[in-house]
């Protein structure tokens, strides 16, 4: 096969030629994979071939080694590993050879493919000579080979995890990279490649960063690179600094003064891409310190592994003026353009993070700037002043802020109505929202909303909802947080007199011609949702009146046909918003005695609408409607059974949706709702549901976050159908057991894994709980006896590992009780013999958490009975 021509044809402008070429490539691959990959690598490495065919050859090779979806990636890895060694050696030889090509694109493509192969082979301890042969290249004279090799090292470090590369190799790679970055390096291309490679190599440099001399040298080289005459090198060097700030926070104290000078200079003088990275450095330091200080404040006071160096606090007097300067560099239309990210935005965002890091200390440093600029004729000054005020509202204490806000509030309300500039109004409305979000609510000692100003605030916000879309959207946001602040009020809310007007204004907004801009429609519905959630005894009858209105809106979307793809997308989005709104309404009205009965009159019609929405089959609508149906099932109770025949197929579809795992997760939750609503009446649907859930669990395509809720769902089903769960035991129990065992083997390396392990264990334990309670008082209880020993062992293990969170603790001690409760004397001796049951129980009994204590008290009773029998 003449592969060159086929590869060129595959890029032809002529569709039929292209299609034919793609088909022959696919055939070639299917019939002879090894030959196919060999000829592609040959094509890529041959300087006699055209650039276009070489590039595509490299791309296809790359795609033959990696894919986005986890399961596909796994298949490709297995496929490569099982290829003939000789073939692989030849391909790898071609790839390395390509790094010396004079054609830049070929080199660049090859370096990416090499990294992919390394990503597969290095963890398997294959291709041991790769790193040495790359490093040998570094010492070659031709600049382009050096450049390509550094690029390859960079890609490789991005691809493989640090633990598969020996320290000896790491040292050599770092040496090569640092050398390439050095100002003595003559070639700009090499310096740039080396600086970018440094970014990926940093995560390998743990040991080197612990060595003072080596760390000093790396920092020196990186800092020098920020002063390069090449913009791209400066930008890449600042990226390295950002990465160092989060990976090596605890090691950078000696360099902070220099870094401050470098970043301050960049923010003031350098081009935007570089200045943005310089600001990002400080934002990233804030992220670190906020995390550390949160740990300090949390349960593990003083236990944090990394101490806080208070870099932000120390830099504050210089840092704040630098950031305030950036606020004045706004672009004209930045509020209307989604994709913009500029100096003013980055600086403002950083200022907000600084406020969260240092709290009260920032206020006196920002107030003079606000006072000086807030009334200036230039809109940039007014906007910058307002933005600065909005930024510091989260972090400092209410004591510090409330007096300022009381003074500012009136000014803001006036500005929102009268300022001629759209940008200023946008920021003003946003700032009002921040005021309500952080300084208004039942937990505040001094209320900022009073009988006296409430009416004015609402009048201004409703008026602003008629302003330009971006301003109206922020006004909706402000109303959202204003409403949220009253959520704890049971009866007479200060919003009560305006309730009707607020709802009507929001509905008007959703009907604006331009509601599609600046996500205005979404904001209006979200605010309506919050208004519904916070409605009180007095206003909830008006929510009831909203039901037919929203139903009618949803009905209208279902009547429109023959839409263009763009219109269809918008329609789907609208359906999502309406289903979301109905869900909130159902949840509210269905849970109140006062409205429940009247609301239930609509249940049939609402369910019918949801079923029609499913026919549209868009992921977001699907999810929102599903969520809403869960709420409906909860409110309807046993009567939900009548919807099951029609609804079931969509339930099944939701459970099969591996790709959009959120949809799958939501559907699993709805199965739980239905179990609790229908109780034993769910039985006819359980075969199908269980089959689907078991398939989900055995699939490696499904996102792992859905697995814990599926286990919990087993418990829901068992609790609902009791001993009828018998026929699923032979499937469910081994799966639970192996998941329990698997959770024991996860090395609790990082927090994320510990968190997931806890979620998984909680799911498994909830399943056991439901199964035990479901079988209680049944003659089939003895079916569970064989499973009891490993469950007790599992509980022992959980207790002894000491990684459990409160949730797992509560569920676990509950399971011990369930086991005793259901199995009685059969469990008694098992529990008495267990390694840690007694200690576990005592620890829970003396817990400060009353939920754990409650579970433990119950377990104590059940165990006491089981042992005494």
């Amino acid at each position: 096969m003449e592969v060159t021509q086929v590869l060129l044809n595959a890029q032809s402008v002529d569709g039929s030629v292209r299609k034919h070429a793609e088909e022959s490539l696919k055939r070639f691959q299917d019939e002879n994979l090894a030959g196919f990959l060999l000829s592609l690598s040959g094509e890529l490495s041959s300087d006699e071939k055209p650039v276009d065919s070489r590039r595509l050859a490299g791309l296809i090779l790359k795609n033959a080694l990696d894919a986005k979806e986890q399961h596909r990636k796994f298949e490709l890895v297995q496929r490569w590993l099982s290829l003939d060694v000789g073939v692989k050696t030849q391909i790898k030889h071609c790839l390395l050879q390509t790094l010396s090509s004079h054609v830049h694109e070929a080199r660049s493509t090859a370096s990416q493919v090499i990294a992919k192969v390394a990503g597969i082979e290095l963890p398997q301890k294959q291709w041991p000579e790769l790193i040495s042969s790359l490093l040998a290249n570094i010492h070659q004279v031709p600049v382009h080979v050096k450049q390509a090799t550094l690029e390859t090292l960079g890609y490789m470090c991005e691809e493989v995890s640090p633990d598969v590369v020996e320290q000896e190799h790491v040292n050599k790679i770092l040496t090569a990279v640092v050398q390439g970055m050095n100002s003595s390096e003559g070639s700009t291309d090499v310096r740039l490649a080396a600086t970018r490679a440094m970014y990926n190599t940093l995560s390998f440099a743990q040991a080197n960063f612990s060595n003072d001399m080596e760390r000093d040298y790396i920092m020196k080289v990186v800092c020098e690179a920020t002063l390069s005459s090449e913009l791209k090198i400066r930008q890449a060097a600042f990226e390295c600094l950002v990465s160092i700030s989060s990976s090596y926070y605890e090691k950078i104290a000696p360099y902070m003064q220099d870094i401050f000078n470098i970043t301050a200079k960049a923010v003031k003088e350098d081009e935007e891409p570089v200045a943005l990275q310089a600001i990002e450095f400080w934002s990233s330091i804030c992220d670190e310190e906020i995390d550390i200080l949160e740990d300090y404040a949390g349960d593990f006071a003083g236990d944090s592994e990394i101490p806080c160096f208070y870099f932000i606090k120390k830099a504050l007097p210089a840092l704040v003026p630098m950031l305030l300067e950036t606020l004045l560099k706004q672009e004209e239309d930045q509020d209307q353009d989604e994709g913009v990210w500029n100096l003013a935005m980055a600086g403002g965002t950083c200022l907000g993070l600084v406020a969260r890091t240092v709290g009260d200390d920032i206020v006196p440093l920002v107030m003079p700037f606000i006072e000086e600029n807030i009334s200036k004729p230039d809109w940039r000054q007014r906007e910058a002043a307002t933005y600065a005020f909005g930024s510091i509202l989260e972090g400092p204490s209410p004591d510090k802020l409330t007096p300022l806000v009381n003074v500012a509030l009136n000014f803001m309300l006036t500005a929102l109505t009268t300022d001629p500039n759209n940008h200023v109004k946008d920021t003003t409305a946003w700032t009002l929202g921040r005021i309500f979000e952080f300084l208004h609510g039942s937990s505040m000692e001094t209320p900022i909303i009073t009988q006296a100003n409430c009416q004015q605030i609402i009048t201004v916000l409703l008026q602003s909802m008629k302003d330009a879309p971006n301003v109206a959207e922020k006004a909706c946001g402000a109303l959202y947080f204003l409403t949220q602040g009253f959520e704890d009020i049971d009866q007479t809310s200060p919003l009560t007199p305006y309730f009707q007007e607020i709802v009507q204004s929001l509905l008007l907004v959703t009907h604006r011609e331009d509601a599609g801009e600046s996500r205005l429609r979404t904001a209006a519905y979200e605010t309506l949702n919050e208004v519904v959630r916070c409605s009180t005894d007095e206003t909830v009858p008006m929510v009831l009146q909203l039901v037919p209105v929203i139903m009618m809106e949803l009905h209208k979307t279902l009547e429109e046909h023959n839409l263009s793809s763009d219109e269809r997308r918008k329609q789907n989005e609208l359906q999502g918003l309406l289903c979301g709104c109905l869900q909130v309404i159902i949840q509210k009205l269905g849970s109140l005695e006062q409205t429940k009965y009247a609301f239930m009159q609509y249940a049939d019609q609402i369910m019918n609408l949801f079923l029609r929405v499913f026919a549209f089959r868009s992921a977001t609508v699907h999810e929102e409607a599903m969520l809403a149906i869960g709420s409906l099932a909860y409110s309807t109770g046993q009567d939900f059974a009548k919807y099951m025949p029609e609804f079931y197929k969509y339930l099944e579809m939701g459970l099969q949706n591996f790709e959009e795992y959120q949809v799958c997760a939501v559907t699993v939750g709805v199965v739980g709702d239905i179990c609790r609503a229908l109780e034993e009446k769910v039985l006819p649907w359980c075969d199908g549901i269980m089959t689907q859930l078991l398939k989900d669990l055995s699939s490696n395509q499904l996102h792992r976050s859905v697995k814990p809720p599926i286990f919990s769902c087993f418990g829901d089903i068992a609790l609902a159908i009791g001993e009828n769960f018998e026929k699923y035991l032979m499937y469910a129990m081994p799966m639970l057991q192996s998941a329990a065992e698997l959770s024991a083997h996860t090395s609790s390396a990082d927090d994320e894994m510990i968190e997931y392990t806890n979620l998984l264990r909680n799911g498994i334990l909830e399943a056991y709980s439901g199964i035990f309670q479901g079988f209680k008082n049944s003659p089939k209880t003895q079916l569970l006896i064989p499973h009891a020993p490993h469950i007790v062992q599992f509980l022992d293990l959980i207790y002894m590992e000491k990684d459990m969170d409160d949730m797992v603790m509560k569920t676990a001690i509950g399971v011990l009780g369930d086991l005793a409760d259901t199995l009685g004397s059969n469990a008694g001796s098992l529990i008495q013999q267990s390694l840690s049951s007694k200690d576990f129980l005592n620890e829970c009994l003396s817990s400060d958490d009353h939920v754990i204590k409650e579970s433990a008290e119950w377990a104590k009773l059940a165990i006491g009975r089981a042992i005494s029998i």
């Binding site: 990002e280 959202y480 829901d716 609790l719 008290e857």
Partner: protein
């Protein structure tokens, strides 16, 4: 390697409303699951006995006003056939069933006829409010109080869990049962014990634990606040003291906002059990009660102490205790003449011969036949009641004796010699 994206959210709230909707749904589901679990657990952990008295169960719904009502402690028989019913169902019972069930569920104190050991260490004391002893049950958005015979006293909204149709997201399983005394003067329910709270059963918990929860939960719920639209009667906690010298003194003489009717003593380790128990004791004298000596239905103190006993097959007259105590015997001729049958409750007066004790045990009683007791009365008097009333008329157990026992206990505690008398 292109530069990495460093854009951060700008003028955006931390979480979207969609995320909030998801999270609220997950929270609701988790809460519902927990409730379903708790409900299932309660199904067995709180099975209670439902005493099924007498061979001819009396239709209590046709309860007539008592002709010869005596203001006195109810005396129940804790034994008997057992129909198992769980309190979750009990909270849902209506009408006659509810009356029947609740009539048998109160924990009843014995009368204090001697001072228990370890009073200081193991006992609580508090001043009992005068009024109607009742169970208060909140469920399904309403609250019902039931008197000791099971009949309904009030139906009203309250701030107890699920006690009024106001609060959101209260599940149907959430309910509570409190042991109270309704005090007419200030229209307040004084809570003396907690049996169930928010669906959790406290039957098998110690008094110490129950009182601890009662104190924290009741205040949290807002039930102790002044009456309002959704909360018709105020509930009130009673100060409970450890039974040391100071605690007893405070309970005995301390100011309380209610009319006192004696002192109640609770053993800290006792579980809540239905019927008579020696682990809860009542004691009274004229200082702390208006009703020390039983009165008849006209409020008069009879000249002679009266007792109600049950006639058995063999003619023996017994108390309601388990096992019963025999106070005397009727011969067959007398039984026939008066038309009495086995199982009848019979009233006697205590004659001048009084009660005779040997070694601290009742040996004989000089009783005089008064008549049959109205059929609506279900139980004979208990032994402790008869003795207490007898002592009141002859040689009462005085508050000084209680204080004195504390002294001796602590003195003896240091020198534990077993006296063999």
């Amino acid at each position: 390697m292109a530069p990495h994206d460093i854009r951060r959210p700008f003028k955006r709230a931390a979480i979207s409303d969609q995320q909030k909707r998801r999270e609220l749904s997950l929270q609701r589901q988790a809460q519902n699951r927990t409730e379903a679990q708790l409900q299932a657990r309660r199904l067995a952990s709180s099975i209670l006995s439902f005493p099924n008295h007498n061979s001819d169960p009396q239709p209590l719904e046709s309860l007539e006003p008592l002709v010869e009502e005596i203001v006195e402690e109810p005396e129940t028989d804790a034994a008997g056939d057992i129909t198992e019913i769980d309190i979750r169902q009990a909270a849902r019972l209506k009408g006659s069933e509810a009356r029947r069930w609740f009539a048998s569920q109160l924990m009843l104190p014995e009368w204090m006829i001697d001072v228990p050991d370890r009073l200081v260490e193991d006992w609580y004391v508090f001043a009992r409010p005068s009024g109607k002893r009742c169970f208060v049950v909140s469920s399904n958005g309403t609250t019902v109080s039931r008197l000791r015979n099971g009949s309904q006293l009030h139906r009203f909204p309250s701030a107890l869990p699920n006690g009024a149709k106001t609060k959101e997201s209260r599940s149907a399983q959430s309910y509570c049962i409190l042991d109270c005394i309704f005090h007419e003067l200030d229209q307040t329910y004084y809570v003396i014990d907690m049996v169930c709270w928010a669906g959790i059963s406290f039957y098998e918990c110690t008094a110490e634990f129950r009182f601890f929860w009662m104190n924290s939960k009741l205040v949290e719920s807002g039930a102790c606040e002044a009456p309002s639209n959704y909360h018709r009667y105020r509930f009130s906690l009673i100060p409970v003291y450890g039974c040391d010298h100071e605690g007893l003194q405070t309970a005995y003489t301390g100011e309380v906002p209610y009319v006192k009717d004696g002192l109640l003593f609770y053993n800290k380790h006792a579980h809540y059990q239905t019927g008579n128990t020696p682990l809860v004791l009542v004691w009274k004298d004229e200082t702390c009660s208006q009703y020390v000596i039983d009165t008849d239905n006209k409020g008069q103190v009879p000249n002679q102490q009266q007792v109600v006993l049950e006639l058995q097959d063999n003619g023996q007259l017994v108390t309601s205790d388990d096992p019963p105590v025999v106070l005397g015997c009727l011969n067959a001729t007398f039984t026939q003449e008066t038309g009495l049958h086995s199982g009848n409750l019979v009233r006697f007066a205590v004659n001048d011969g009084g009660l005779t004790f040997v070694d601290g045990k009742l040996e004989k009683a000089d009783l005089h036949y008064v008549g049959k007791v109205h059929r609506a009365r279900a139980f004979a008097d208990s032994y402790s009641k008869i003795i207490f009333q007898y002592m009141v008329r002859n040689s009462p157990l005085r508050i000084e004796h209680l204080f004195a026992s504390m002294g001796t206990v602590s003195e003896q505690g240091s020198n534990e010699v077993e006296m063999v008398g």
